[in-house]
C-alpha cells in the first residue's frame, strides 16, 4: 500500500486554517498604505514590526519548509521539484558573478536542493564534478558560452531550458499526479513565455530551438516554428492546445499570462483540500504558501508605488482557501 501520510495531512489541515483567504487578500487590497498592510499581516502572524517586508517573506518561506521537513523528514526529495528552480537561479547568478568578477552575496536564493555557496564555489573554480550530475554539463556549457560570447541572454536560455527540463523530469519521477502536473505546467508555460517574447523581439528559429524545453502538452517544434513567424502564429498554434484559454491573457501582457499560470496551478491543487491521504495535500500546501507570498509581495509593491486599488485587484492571484 502506498504511503498515506495521515499524520502529516492532518497537521496540514490544521495549518490550512491560517492560510490567507480571499477575504484577507481583499482587506489587504483595500488598505490605504503599505504600513496598514504590514499591520494586518502582523495580526495574521506574518513577520513582526522589526522585519522588512523582504525579510518577512524569507521568514514565511522558512516556516513552510521547516514544517515540511518536520512532517516528512525522509521524503524531502519528493519536493525537489519545487526547489530546483532556485538551484538553477543560483547557477545563473554564480556563472555571471564568476565572469564579471567580484562578490555579490545578495544575488543568491536560499532554499534550493544544494547550498548556493556550493554552486558558487564549483562555478568559480570550474569544478563541475562538485555539482549534481544533471547540472554539470549545463553549467560548463553556460559558463563557456558566456566567456566566449559575452552574451548573457544566450547563457540564460541554456540554463532556463535545463531548469525547465529538470523540473518536469523531477515531477515525473515522483509519480504523484499533482507534482507531475506542476512540472509539466512549469515547463509548458515557460516555453510559452519564451515563445511570446521571442516572437515580439523577432528572434529566429535557431534561437527558439535552443531555448524551448520539450514537454508533453506542447509540440515545441511547432511552437518554435510559430514563434519565428510572429505573435499571430503563436496565438494560432496555442488555440489548438490545452492552453487555448490563456490566449486572451497573452494578448494583454506577459504579467497577465503569469497570473493565469498561477491561477491555473491553484485550480489544479484545490481538490487536495478534500483529500485526507497522500502527498498531494502537502504539496498543495507548499504551492499555496508560495502563492500567498507572491500575492502579498504584489500587494505590498503596489501599495508602495501607490497603484490604484482596481489595478491591484486585477493583478492579485486566486487563493487556495
Amino acid at each position: 500500500m502506498a504511503e498515506q501520510y495521515i499524520y502529516a495531512v492532518a497537521r496540514i489541515r490544521s495549518r490550512e486554517l491560517s492560510l490567507l483567504n480571499e477575504a484577507v487578500i481583499s482587506q489587504l487590497c483595500a488598505a490605504a498604505t503599505e504600513e496598514d498592510c504590514l499591520r494586518i499581516l502582523n495580526e495574521k502572524n506574518w513577520g513582526n514590526p522589526d522585519l522588512s517586508s523582504e525579510e518577512m517573506f524569507q521568514e514565511e518561506n522558512k516556516k513552510t519548509w521547516a514544517l515540511i521537513r518536520e512532517l516528512v523528514p525522509d521524503k524531502m526529495e519528493i519536493f525537489d521539484v519545487f526547489r530546483l528552480e532556485k538551484d538553477y537561479h543560483n547557477l545563473k547568478a554564480a556563472i555571471k558573478e564568476s565572469c564579471i568578477g567580484g562578490i555579490h552575496p545578495g544575488i543568491f536564493a536560499q532554499g534550493g536542493t544544494i547550498p548556493a555557496a556550493d554552486i558558487q564555489k564549483a562555478v568559480a573554480e570550474s569544478d563541475y564534478e562538485a555539482l549534481p550530475k544533471t547540472m554539470r554539463q549545463v553549467a560548463q556549457e553556460a559558463k563557456e558560452t558566456l566567456l566566449q560570447t559575452r552574451d548573457g541572454q544566450l547563457c540564460d536560455i541554456i540554463i532556463d531550458r535545463a531548469a525547465m527540463e529538470q523540473i518536469r523530469l523531477a515531477g515525473e519521477k515522483t509519480r504523484e499526479p499533482l507534482l507531475k502536473d506542476y512540472g509539466e505546467l512549469v515547463c509548458a508555460t515557460g516555453d510559452i513565455k519564451i515563445a511570446v517574447r521571442a516572437a515580439k523581439t523577432g528572434k529566429d528559429k535557431q534561437f527558439l530551438d535552443k531555448a524551448l524545453a520539450p514537454c508533453s502538452t506542447l509540440d515545441v517544434a511547432a511552437l518554435s516554428q510559430a514563434a519565428s513567424a510572429g505573435m499571430e502564429a503563436v496565438i494560432a498554434y496555442l488555440d489548438h492546445t490545452v492552453y487555448a484559454d490563456a490566449i486572451e491573457e497573452l494578448s494583454q501582457s506577459v504579467a497577465s499570462f503569469e497570473r493565469w499560470c498561477d491561477n491555473r496551478m491553484i485550480r489544479t491543487i484545490k481538490p487536495q483540500i478534500h483529500n485526507p491521504f497522500g502527498i498531494g495535500p502537502i504539496a498543495a500546501y507548499i504551492l499555496a504558501r508560495d502563492n500567498e507570498i507572491k500575492t502579498v509581495r504584489i500587494i505590498l509593491a503596489a501599495k508602495r508605488n501607490s497603484l490604484p486599488e482596481e489595478m491591484l485587484r486585477e493583478r492579485v492571484r486566486e487563493m487556495y482557501v
Binding site: Y7, V9, A10, R11, R13, S14, P276
Partner: protein, 161 residues
C-alpha cells in the same frame, strides 16, 4: 480429536483475529490523524478520540462471536464435543464467515472515514456531531454481519442438539 471441532475452533479464532486486525488498522490510521489534528489544537483531543474509537467496535464484535462459538462448541466452559462431525464443524465455520469477512473490511473503511472526518473537525470544530454520522454509517454493515453470525451459530447449535 475430530476434524469437525478443528473447523469450529478455526471459525471462532478467525473471527477474533481478522476483526482485530481490521480494527487495529482502523484505530491506527484514525489515531495518526487525531495526533496530527491535536498537535496544533490540543482542544480537539476528546472529539478526535471518539472518532478514533469508532473502528474499534469491529474487534469487539469478532471477540463476541468467538466467545459465543467457543461456548457453543464447549471449548469454553468445558464439555467440548471431541467427536463433532465434519459437517457440524463446517457449519460452525460457515456461521462465523460473515464476521470473518465483513468486520475487517468495514473496520478499515471506517478508519479511513474517521480520518476524513477528523480533518473535517480540525477545520470546523462545530461539525463534530455531523462528522460522527459518516463513520457510523459504515458500522451498519458490521452490525448486520454480527447479527447473521449470531443467528447462524445458535441455529447450528440447535441442529447439533
Amino acid at each position: 480429536m475430530s476434524i469437525g471441532l478443528v473447523f469450529a475452533l478455526a471459525g471462532a479464532a478467525l473471527a477474533a483475529a481478522t476483526s482485530g486486525m481490521g480494527s487495529a488498522y482502523g484505530v491506527g490510521v484514525a489515531g495518526q490523524a487525531a495526533a496530527g489534528a491535536c498537535t496544533d489544537n490540543p482542544d480537539l483531543f476528546s472529539k478526535t478520540l471518539i472518532l478514533q474509537l469508532l473502528p474499534g467496535t469491529q474487534g469487539i464484535y469478532g471477540l463476541l462471536i468467538a466467545f459465543i462459538c467457543l461456548s457453543q462448541i464447549g471449548i469454553m466452559g468445558g464439555g467440548a464435543d471431541t467427536a463433532m462431525s465434519l459437517g457440524t464443524g463446517l457449519l460452525y465455520f460457515a456461521a462465523c464467515l460473515p464476521v470473518i469477512i465483513v468486520e475487517p473490511i468495514s473496520a478499515m473503511h471506517q478508519g479511513r472515514t474517521s480520518v476524513a472526518c477528523i480533518a473535517m473537525v480540525s477545520k470546523k470544530e462545530e461539525t463534530f456531531g455531523k462528522s460522527m454520522i459518516f463513520p457510523a454509517m459504515v458500522e451498519t454493515y458490521a452490525i448486520l454481519a454480527l447479527l447473521i453470525s449470531i443467528l447462524a451459530i445458535f441455529g447450528v447449535s440447535g441442529l447439533a442438539a
